[in-house]
Amino acid sequence: MTSRADRFRRIADRCRAKPGQFGLREHAVYLVRSSWSGASFGEGTQEETVVPIQVAHQQPPKVRFPSQRELALGMMGEGDLEIGPFTPNYGPGGFDRDDLNGSKLVVGETLLIRVVGPQAPLPGVMYRFKNVNVDRALRVTLVCKPAGVS
């Protein structure tokens, strides 16, 4: 039996899939969890576990690069990227927030985000978490920074 909250989330998730179904979501987003075979972190062979971040019907989420106005006003930083909104877990759908907060990682593993699309040609661009915004009940957004920029 699903809760009322889950029903709201399912509706929101299906609405979020519409732009993707019309072909308007150009960027695919993946969580990339890496571990290493060596004695310490970063040593040896890297093994990746890749999980796509998606909304309903396996559609990619919205990916937004900052406008000049947002940069000028300091609302987002140079190189920042906003991913989402996507929907928190609701039974059969949504995205598990524990996948975003690192609680499932083993010590020495890394968690990054790979974005692939017109603004991030193959093999894609790696981003790190800056903020996980959970300020609304039905949505999660991520603000990310390129992994190589301090």
Binding site: A39, S40, F41, E43, G102, V107, T110, F129, A147, S150
Partner: protein, 249 residues
């Protein structure tokens, strides 16, 4: 492969295939290993007793039964880095810092390098600072002793470290305990910890140099007899009291 470049510090040329890139900077590997072992061995029991008094619900409670070095890393653990990997606290980080000075006091190029040794405890609450702050002071003192002795009985069976890697090594200053600088956010908030700054001297050497460098014998003063004996036959004359670098005038 042919080469007559000899080496620089602990790096030998031509470098053979390596199982790990850390073999290209063996001094760094020795420092990290020695300090981790020294802190865990010297303060392990004290850490257990400190953790036993941490109240339930504090993040440190999850580390009961673990050592005072939960994880190590060999780079500066800035916010940019820490959002990318998972580590246990306390985190020990040892890394080269800043812009090393290069000059020729004799025919060999020398490099004076600053190192930072960060021991980062994590998001400590105010009521725990009295205990954990004092523990951090003890960690700083163990780091200094480990550098002075250049070995620990529990690390590689007590073998003296840094031979052939550093011509000279010494602790220079201690920063903290307080908000740890590498882990600091804006406006002075951030993770609690302590940083010890070290200084090393490395020098290039010829291909056929068999014993081109030594540990500064000044740091053997006061050391136990067996430590000094461990250096017997080891040339400490070349780099004792190395000349100052140019002042830049």
């Amino acid at each position: 492969m042919s080469s007559n470049y000899g080496g620089f510090g602990g790096t030998k040329f031509p470098a053979a295939q390596v199982a790990s890139a850390s073999e290209l900077d063996p001094g760094h590997k020795s420092l990290l290993g020695l300090l981790e072992t020294a802190i865990n061995s010297e303060l392990g029991d004290a850490w257990a007793s400190v953790l036993a008094r941490v109240r339930d619900g504090n993040f440190l409670k999850q580390y009961v039964g673990q050592k005072p070095v939960g994880s190590v890393c060999d780079f500066e653990p800035t916010e940019q880095q820490r959002t990318q990997f998972k580590a246990n606290f306390p985190l020990l980080a040892v890394y080269r810092e800043g812009e090393p000075e290069l000059w020729y006091p004799n025919q060999y190029l020398h490099q004076k390098q600053t190192w930072a040794v960060d021991w980062i405890l994590g998001p400590v609450q105010a009521d725990q600072i009295p205990q954990l702050g004092r523990f951090a002071i003890a960690v700083g003192r163990v780091i200094c002793r480990a550098i002075e002795y250049a070995r620990h009985l529990d690390y590689q069976e007590g073998v003296c470290q840094f031979q052939g890697e550093f011509a000279h090594i010494k602790p220079v200053s201690v920063n903290g305990p307080g908000v740890q600088r590498a882990a600091a956010e804006d406006a002075g908030s951030g993770y609690y910890g302590l940083t010890v700054i070290l200084e090393t001297w490395e020098r290039e050497h010829d291909e056929n140099d068999t014993d081109p460098y030594g540990i500064n014998a000044n740091y053997m003063i006061g050391a136990p007899v067996d430590t000094i004996e461990a250096f017997e036959g080891f040339d400490t004359t070349l780099e004792v009291d190395p000349p100052d670098p140019p002042s830049g005038d």
